[in-house]
Amino acid sequence: AQSVAQPEDQVNVAEGNPLTVKCTYSVSGNPYLFWYVQYPNRGLQFLLKYITGDNLVKGSYGFEAEFNKSQTSFHLKKPSALVSDSALYFCAVRGISGTYKYIFGTGTRLKVLA
């Protein structure tokens, strides 16, 4: 069965500092991995994805994520955090065969302090 874990309910970081939001996954075979962001009272916005190829993928708003197959992780990173990055972040996995549903983690609230 597919699953995603986001071990931190909340991450606090000072503005200008690098940020990391952690995600680990469990899936049979090769996964498709995604990060989404949710601002208050809004739907989810797609940030980036890993399908294949380079382990470091770049996405919207300066975010990037590193795929690590041996550690089954897909951590979200940004070199310099902005106050406006404060939001709820979800990691998701989708299988490449069989069921195509997306399984989401429980979310990590990122708070960037000015």
Binding site: Y36, G43, L44, F46, I51, F90, Y100, K101, F104, G107
Partner: protein, 115 residues
């Protein structure tokens, strides 16, 4: 349209009434998904459509919940005899299935309040 559209954006209903939630996916997207998000919580998968058929409806909580999709386009999620526990934001998403267009795009959601 340019994005996934959901209606209504807000719905308040009395316990025991039936409600219908509508989703218009991005044109050409063959896959359509419904999720539920309770206040302060993550996304709970409900059902997935491929075209007009639903190969995975394992997340529907009870037989009070049903969904259909027609014309490989619009989908409706119906909740019969609503209960207070059904109060949540219902999110719809659509995606292609090709190798290059795997990400799902979400609508703004329908906030359902059962009183």
């Amino acid at each position: 349209g340019a994005g996934v559209s959901q209606s209504p954006s807000n719905k308040v209903t009395e316990k025991g009434k039936d409600v219908e939630l509508r989703c218009d996916p991005i044109s050409g997207h063959t896959a359509l998904y419904w999720y539920r998000q309770r206040l302060g919580q993550g996304l709970e998968f409900l059902i997935y459509f491929q075209g007009n058929s639903a190969p995975d409806k394992s997340g529907l909580p009870s037989d009070r919940f049903s969904a259909e999709r027609t014309g490989e386009s619009v989908s409706t999620l119906t909740i019969q005899r609503t209960q207070q526990e059904d109060s949540a934001v219902y999110l719809c998403a659509s995606s292609g299935l090709g190798h290059l267009n795997t990400e799902a795009f979400f609508g703004q959601g329908t906030r359902l309040t059962v009183v």
